[in-house]
């Protein structure tokens, strides 16, 4: 399970960074989204991977704490998802404004000349 998760985070990050460095705004925004997915999974992984362990106390007492998984990273992930999502939406608006002003989707607002 650890291997699958780490490979997934690695692939997402690598694709995200590659796309982030591309010259089209749409590629940049997809790159940023992939990067934020990778980061969210990473935060989740930092709470250690457990299966069949709830993050909140079950009714009827505390019992054995080792039966529970760490709830803090899960709360952090929720916050990070919301913020990341809002920021991506905001970036989309700027992207469209830039496209409207310059008529191109190049990140510098003009096509590179090849001459």
């Amino acid at each position: 399970m650890e291997l699958i998760l780490s490979v997934a985070i690695g692939v997402l990050t690598a694709s995200g960074v590659y796309l982030l460095l591309r010259p089209r705004t749409y590629q940049v925004i997809i790159g940023l989204s992939l990067l934020s997915y990778a980061v969210n999974l990473f935060i989740f992984g930092m709470g250690r991977l457990r299966v069949n362990a709830p993050p909140v106390l079950e009714p009827g007492g505390v019992g054995d704490l080792s039966r529970y998984t760490d709830p803090v990273p899960q709360a952090l992930v929720l916050t990070a998802i919301v913020i990341g999502f809002a920021m991506t939406a905001l970036f989309l608006v700027v992207l469209l404004a830039s496209r409207g002003f310059t008529g191109t989707d190049h990140v510098d607002g003009r096509e590179q000349r090849h001459d």
Binding site: F42, I43, M46, I83, M87, T88, F91, A97, S98, D108
Partner: protein, 539 residues
């Protein structure tokens, strides 16, 4: 036992948040009402920050458990805490002072350039205040994002191709930096199981070697996110374009955004990697030193090479950041007080300069390349510029503008008798051990490089300001005199007067800075105060 005054701690976050939210449903035509609401709110924050500063410097109140605000009455490290100390009170005061000036300035005309200016402005202040007050890393992230989200909106205020292009780069860079921030925070949590800064500083010494390395990796990744914000070379190429493209009141308040990065680095490096961190003590100082020195050099070259005044001011921001980063990186305890004084002085100066630039350039040749940004903000023909003037214009415009420009030049270059000189003198005095409090430390080659760069950067600022000043004030007789209204020049004058006040009252202010530096050098005291704070209602 804490008293009711402790509840004042949450107000610097709540007040702007609520005022900003209350303004959103108001019609955009009621700009003046919004402006007045925002101004009153910021004024209240300024008064509040002075009260908090007083509270932070009274040791009885601090010893009684004031200054640590436990949200939901959960004790740290399990609950979220807001922590007030001298440094955060100082930053709150600086923020609200700058915001006050920028807001007054915007009322004259700039707030009409787009929608929701005043709401965004209040949200920016809420984010800034939150970042300065919070006592744990994840809340720092949240407040940081509030601040950044508002700053994206403000940078785009006024629209136009130049701003949108600069905004696009700014947003992309900061989103990538936020990802690094989260990776750093989660690495630190994974290794230590805590996000509370005070708890972190206590736990670091007890970690196993493997976990400690993971914290260091986390801190390094986290540091990169803040260094992007602070504008350390080579993470700073976005900064001059973005700051020069922003509208003047926005650029003026952006002068403190770089200082948020500096603040966090100063706080974390002294708190977590301070004297009691064991093997990890002084982690990252080499990077800060090298990066800081390179930033000063890059900024100074940029200052010399700038054609437009906006870029000159933006490169001055970099010089200021570099000076502070390198001062932290050198790691001499005696320099911190001077560095804090420099932080306040340089932020006020750069802010005043950003406001002044637009007033000066207003009268210049319409076709000039340097005016490109300002011109498109006014629109081509469909917007009548004269109509937007509010209030009386001032007499002797060029004389007053010229005087303000001279003061800015003296402050930026660090020449006597103003606070720019006092600040640099205090830093260098600390470096050479002039305070007499301790034996003079050995002066290393790195120290000499720092001294040289600090002085050369002052010279570069002087040359650049001279050149621009001569071109603007002595060679433009045929140009029309700009129309400047009282409400626009007053903020500039007030900010510069604050710098003069800093120079006149340098003694008492340096005492405050010294006390701040001493408390920063005592991370155990901070940790004890946060972790040992009594709960409200008492037990």
């Amino acid at each position: 036992m804490t008293d009711w005054t402790n509840h004042l701690l949450i107000l610097p976050i709540l007040l702007p948040l609520m005022v900003g939210a209350a303004m959103i449903p108001l019609d955009e035509r009621n700009r003046m009402l919004k402006g007045v609401m925002g101004f009153v709110s910021t004024l209240a924050l300024f008064v509040l920050s002075l009260v908090l500063m007083r509270m932070a410097s009274s040791s009885e109140a601090m010893a009684a458990g004031n200054g640590v605000y436990q949200l939901g009455n959960w004790p740290a490290p399990f609950g979220i805490v807001l922590v007030l100390d001298r440094l955060s009170a100082l930053m709150l005061c600086l923020t609200s002072g700058l915001a006050l000036a920028a807001q007054a300035y915007s009322i004259a005309r700039w707030h009409t350039a787009g929608h929701h200016f005043h709401s965004l402005f209040q949200l920016l202040i809420a984010g800034l205040n939150g970042s300065f007050l919070t006592g744990d890393l994840f809340n720092l992230f949240v407040f940081f994002e509030i601040m950044l989200a508002a700053s994206y909106g403000l940078l785009l205020h006024g629209s136009g191709p130049l701003r949108v292009k600069a905004g696009l780069h700014y947003v992309a860079i900061n989103l990538a930096a936020s990802s690094l921030f989260l990776i750093g925070v989660s690495l630190i949590y994974g290794a230590t199981g805590t996000l509370n800064m005070a708890d972190l500083s206590v736990k670091l010494a007890t970690l196993s070697a493997g976990d400690r390395q993971m914290v260091e990796v986390g801190a390094g990744v986290l540091g990169v996110a803040f260094l992007v914000k602070a504008g350390m070379w080579p993470l700073s190429f976005w900064l001059p374009t973005a700051y020069a493209a922003a509208t003047p009141p926005v650029a003026a308040v952006f002068a403190i955004l770089t200082k948020v990065g500096i603040y966090v680095i100063l706080r974390l490096s002294l708190l977590v990697f301070g004297a009691n961190a064991g093997v990890s003590a002084g982690f990252g100082q080499t990077v800060l030193l090298a990066g800081g020195l390179l930033t000063i050099a890059f900024g100074a070259i940029g200052v010399l090479a700038s054609q437009a005044m906006g870029r000159l001011a933006a490169y001055s921001v970099l010089v200021s950041s570099g000076t502070l980063l390198a001062a932290i990186g050198l790691g001499h305890a005696s320099m911190i007080a001077g560095a804090l004084f420099y932080l306040v002085s340089s932020t006020l100066t750069i802010s005043a300069f950003f406001l002044l630039i637009e007033l000066v350039e207003r009268g210049r040749d319409a076709g000039a390349d340097v005016l490109a940004v300002t011109m498109e903000a006014y629109g081509d023909a469909d917007e009548d510029e004269e109509e937007e003037e509010v209030g009386a214009t001032i007499p002797g415009t060029m004389a007053i503008l010229g005087l303000c420009f001279c003061l800015c030049a003296l402050l930026l270059a660090g020449l006597p008798p103003l606070s720019g000189f006092v600040a640099k003198f205090a830093i260098l005095g600390g470096l050479f051990g002039l305070s007499g409090a301790e034996a003079a430390p050995a002066i290393s080659p790195a120290d000499w490089t720092y001294v040289t760069l600090l002085i050369v950067s002052g010279l570069a600022a002087m040359i650049a300001m001279n050149r621009v000043g001569i071109r603007t004030f002595w060679a433009s007789i045929e140009n029309t005199v700009p129309r400047v209204v009282v409400i626009e020049i007053t903020p500039v004058v007030v900010l510069l007067a604050a710098c003069i006040f800093l120079s006149l009252q340098a003694g008492p202010i340096m005492h405050y800075m010294q006390a701040t530096a001493d408390s920063l050098m005592n991370p155990a005291g901070y940790a004890e105060r946060v972790l040992g704070a009594p709960r409200a209602g008492g037990q």
